[in-house]
Symmetry: D2
Subunit: 448 residues, 4 copies
């Protein structure tokens, strides 16, 4: 595992797109860095690649490009830039996602029908809006309302950067040709993971009252607020995520055949959809392979398993005699990590486009859990709900988060497709328990 | 509202089916009282009434009679009563509900196909099993394992008593003839609810650390355990449930037309299913009527609204500028009520078969919230999940509760169809957010 | 096969319910014989048996009893019997099947929700209407319009007699207990069919112009009219239906695995529904059994195969190097048979409740094809369509036949569940190609 | 209507792509003319336009380009051109449509997932195969087997030319921007159709024995053969198709609201899908517009109505007191027309891309029905079935036609999207009664 030990600690030190808020160029530079990052992600995609919608949950790359642009145009340029003229009157209808307050919209499951406007037209739309945003900066000092909206807009766009990648991976996984989005370095499929790295070490936490949720400084979403007290019972947390190798053992032990491991709804789905392995895995002549952004590659036994549903995560935990962590447990443990944990994590900027193999740790007990940030989102057993005292954003963005607080579970820590400046310990991602197309994995926990 | 003030305080003093655990005849008498109660519920039903399944969520009355009997036969008689011979070898397959560990079973959505065995044969099955249970009591002293299973079996049967009624109501609601199950006294549809009773009074709670979950004495389910600490922010709770009159105002104010009030999944359902009112309501020549166990009756404006989904409850709370209570908030407030709150509540034993009108209270601030127990189950905003340290029952009943901890919300307090001895403050009922066929209502809460 | 040779020729001479039209008591006696026959079919059924609807295509026995009665009440008594008062004002809504012109109706797929009215109430409804019909006969001479409607009503009721049986069989087939409707004599499962009987002999027909459709005398449906010329190419017709033994050979030869045998829509269904055999067959420890009105019995290898879809019939014909007959071919061949062919056929009146084994024939070439009438309906390759010059009935019964002329195929000859007096060579039954719950089988044809 | 009288007689004299069979260059020239025509149809389409699949019934333009090429590669080049190497080993899987005998294939409903290979790669595939076909002509004299297959291949490709256009129209109709495929000349929406042209004149036919099906000379499909006798009753046929103006009258008279006009299955669909007009129509501020290959244009009241289902056609006929013609009636009437009827018809080569307005006729009684060929396919009331003596093609193309003979209805005459050399009186097109995305219309018939 020499690859892992040496380089990543430094290789990950790519500067994030969003600068610290106290940087004098914070807002403007961050904004355009984010905007440029999005464009860079579609390099090499054809108009067709950027147009097709592979399932209702996923959106075309072109749509992500346009929707994030529509967000700035609608919430900022139209109300705040004097004389601004929308690029195209029909785009408001085409690229509104779910904002009932703003107006009607093209149905979500029909986004892939829009072969027009073309990818080039959407690029022109972005340029038009970027130019207007530049003008906004040059002609007036942003007031607090526009600053908030611009910040929201750039974090919103970062969310769509990740979705663009996961949606594209889903699309390419439907193609028997297994197209390659980016060449990526091979993993560790053949060598068994080193013993000292793969045995789970448990970190113990004494519990008691602690605070979770967004601390006051820096941008956060409404759903992370307010910071509040929770009481935790003593628990322990695995020092590493569950790996591909672990998952193969789960499969080989009949994990997908034993109803007693599964939640009732999960077992119904396993039977109905005939789930036998993570969504992108397939067995080719006895070898487990997985569709990745680098095409069809052997499963990396040393790297966190990815693209699993909550149902699978919960069944695995049951099989392993453990459980999934609660959100507050995860967050409290993450808050205790050094700042280096985020800086050296495998995020979008690393360009790996896949979870890294487990990294060596000189002193596993002492350093705290590894790879909590980056690589894969970690399912928690906590339903996505409002914190006590939750207040939605006011105005057009009111619908941003609150109306989805039903039936979804929280995931923490970000993935190899998440921008580094997008993540913090209090960050709450959420998906339905059956969804599998994100870079979602798990880490075990136990009661003490 | 003279009806309410005088009688119910005493009328509800019907003895519960399950005696206190320290009663010398506790186990045996309670068991047969519960068994008899179940039979009494099908008096007057035809074989056909007891056979048809009106939707997958609901089961035929006959099936409830048989399944609760199968529970005793399979978990207690077969393993513990020497020489016991099952009534019919096919019943194990027909009447297992969802116990994967016990064996294969007739598909849930096909329960209504079983025109044979007849209702009379099921009655004979019950008699056979009851006789054997009597023999069990007479021939050996129950040990701790059988005591536990018998207790579980009778509480299990009480759950099915309520389901039998709600499933029957659903069936009868499909019939254009609106059949009457039991004659019930009319409500208060025409007189507007008295002002002093209907204005919401808010009870304030300071929050902080508190304990919830089952205290050690008496029967409780595994999902109520262990008792544990939670930290609550200050909050207030309405002193009464939302009523039919409130709901009419919600409808008239366009509650079912305004997407901004609804959770996203709820709004999708409102549109898809064209929800315009609670499931059993219909408007007949300008008058709101509701299908009840007493047939089609005018909506009682003074009584708690019933048969609403979580989605509707959450939308109503949003409309009212409030929110749903958290489970721990509800439970903490309920623990502070006097024991009379349960004793005088409108449960199954009252025979009303519908939620009572709001009862007068001499000193509303002082007495604590009214009608938290009985009448209607109250939706909380808490997802149904495992408590820290949760341990499922061991053995055949392992699957009783744990495998449903996904996607459902907790309801508290019991309803007019719940046996009184079945309920306590820590009791956790759970249903999916779209389900409406239970006696489910709501009470508002607010952050302080 | 001695059973077959001797008795049936006479055993089937049970008088039909409908007398010849020139019988002086024709109308009244026939009517009440038909009405009584229907009632006799529900003897031994419980209220529940008569109430449950096992699929949308099927209706409860109780509904058949009521709907046929509603037909007389609505089309004859209300308009023609002075002072007649409908039995119950709600029945018009409950028991209208599909007559848009007559009014709204209870949805077809909800017929099984009607646990009320009970079977006894429906019997009382029948008695009420029968009494009124008797009064109609006693108080006025029926005019031509009422004669036509009474005739239609009794033939309509005969159709429902067959449906009542096939719907009940479908219901009982859903029950793991395999209930017995009537004890029936065992078939010929173990002895291989005699060679001389089972080898197919082909009857040749020269083709040319011929006439099909209803000749002028006697009751016929509008869809059989007018008699008209068709031109047929030379063809041959098998002298016997395909048997259970034939079908086992088809299965064993991989008939359900070979897409090249199947129509495209049929193959899609085979895969989607995992069809492996006729709907009521199952393999029990190596023995093919079939659910019948006499419960689960070994498949009779010597009797016509039954309960197969058009798709299966067409695949079998392809496998056998033959084809299905056209309706005109079948009808022309049937017209050439002696009148004895109908009289000795295995219809409802025989009480066998299942297809008979192939009957011996002294001179197979000379006598014409065997068992064209009774036993099983025979699928033809002809779509159900209007004859040239087709005119629907006028008035309320206009919708009787015409609006179903799309997507269905014609079956000929009647079955063991069809009343004898209901059938003639020109009779056209019709079902969708995927439907399998009728007594439907096939006979092969070939081009010459 | 001067436009119609003068020009079309000559304008339509564009030479067809397929030459007469006795032309010395017939096979080779026709083949490459057809191949070039296909390519010309995708001029101006983007990669995305050519990739998206708008419903399961439709295929992407790119797929049509590739599948028709795969047909030549698989059936001709691989077996008959020595040393031929397939362009890409994966294409056999990707572009097989439904040939079970040839092998596995990409699921039909997933054709739109194939963003790779790109449109340019498919063009290269076509060039590769065209070059090899050229080589085949240059290196060996085609024998009778390859001649038959090449003929089949080019007629097969012509079918896909039409589908490419109708599928593209369906795709563009999903786009709120209503994209324009080709600029087309406006129709006659505002001027009422001239009286003398629009009143229906009925042509009478005496009926009797006649022959239909393919005569011996020239290419025909297996489903048109053999020519055979049918007997027809006397009938009359409208001299013109039903127009857009007629259809507006049908709508305004409540045609979509009256169940008595509809087949039962059609009425169920009308209610379920809320059909109110032909699929591509919409009402914009009181004006009926239709999505066409030229974008959203006013409905042409003088031109044949198009894009209607069989259900709608049958309901219209019922409303008009008429019926749809039988296939044999239509074909017999078409055979009596002069050869000019095909030559001057509005086919693909005309480039109009929409049905023409009714053309003037000097002597309507004398000339026979107008516009039977071209403009719109005309629904007949005949189910698509095998002719007596039907023999499927042998070999790989065996599955071409036979396995679809179930549940579909025959359409005759070709449309404005059909190549002229593809059509003849015996040609049988077939679609399901609910399908509406073809250029399908109707002409009325009556019994005499």
């Amino acid at each position: 595992m020499s690859r892992a030990t040496a380089s990543p600690q430094t290789a990950r030190q790519v500067p994030p797109d969003i600068l610290p808020q106290d940087d004098p160029y914070y807002l403007e530079e961050s904004l355009f860095a984010v905007r440029d990052r999005t464009l860079s992600l579609v390099k090499g995609l054809s108009d067709a690649d950027a147009t097709v919608q592979s399932m209702t949950d996923a959106s075309p790359a072109k749509w992500h490009l346009a929707h994030t642009t529509w967000f700035f145009e609608t919430l900022i340029l139209v109300p705040f830039l004097k004389g601004y003229r929308p690029f195209d009157d029909t785009y408001g209808y085409l690229f509104n996602s779910y904002y009932e307050r703003i107006g009607d919209r093209h149905p979500r499951d029909r986004r892939g029908m829009l072969t027009r406007p073309s990818l080039d037209e959407i690029r022109a739309y972005r340029a038009h809006v970027d130019a207007a945003l530049g003008k906004l900066f040059s002609t007036r000092l942003p007031n607090s309302e526009t600053v908030d909206l611009i910040e929201l807009g750039m974090h919103h766009e970062q969310q769509h950067q990740e979705l663009l990648l996961t949606d594209l991976l889903h699309l390419f996984a439907q193609n028997p040709l297994s197209p390659v989005y980016r060449m990526i370095k091979p993993g560790h499929s053949h060598e068994p993971a080193r013993t000292d790295q793969s045995a789970v070490v448990w970190h113990e936490y004494e519990g008691g009252l602690c605070e979770i949720g967004a601390a006051s400084d820096g941008f956060t979403y409404d759903n992370e607020r307010p910071r509040h007290s929770v009481h935790l019972a003593p628990f322990s947390l695995a020092d590493r995520p569950v790996t591909g190798g672990d998952w193969i053992r789960f499969i080989e032990d009949g994990g997908y055949d034993n109803p007693l491991l599964w939640l009732a709804d999960g077992w119904a789905l396993v039977q109905q959809e005939n789930w036998r392995h993570p969504i992108y895995w397939r067995q080719c002549e006895g070898v487990w392979k997985a569709m990745t952004l680098g095409g069809l590659l052997p499963v990396d036994r040393s790297a966190p398993v990815s693209h699993i549903s909550y149902f699978e995560a919960a069944a695995y935990a049951q099989w392993a005699g453990a459980r999934l962590p609660r959100e507050a447990e995860w967050e409290m443990a993450a808050m205790r990590l050094s700042g280096n944990a985020v800086k050296t994590a495998n995020f979008l900027e690393s360009g790996t486009m896949r979870p890294d193999a487990l990294r060596a740790a000189a002193d596993r007990q002492h350093q705290g859990p590894r790879q909590m940030f980056g690589d894969v989102w970690e399912w928690t057993q906590s339903s996505y709900c409002a914190y006590p005292g939750f207040k939605p954003l006011q105005g057009a963005a009111e619908e941003y988060n609150g109306k989805f607080m039903c039936g979804q579970f929280v995931l923490k820590g970000g993935s190899c497709a998440t921008p580094r400046s997008h993540i913090r310990a209090s960050y709450r991602n959420f998906f339905y328990p059956h969804q599998r197309w994100q870079f979602s994995g798990l880490r075990l926990a136990k009661d003490l």
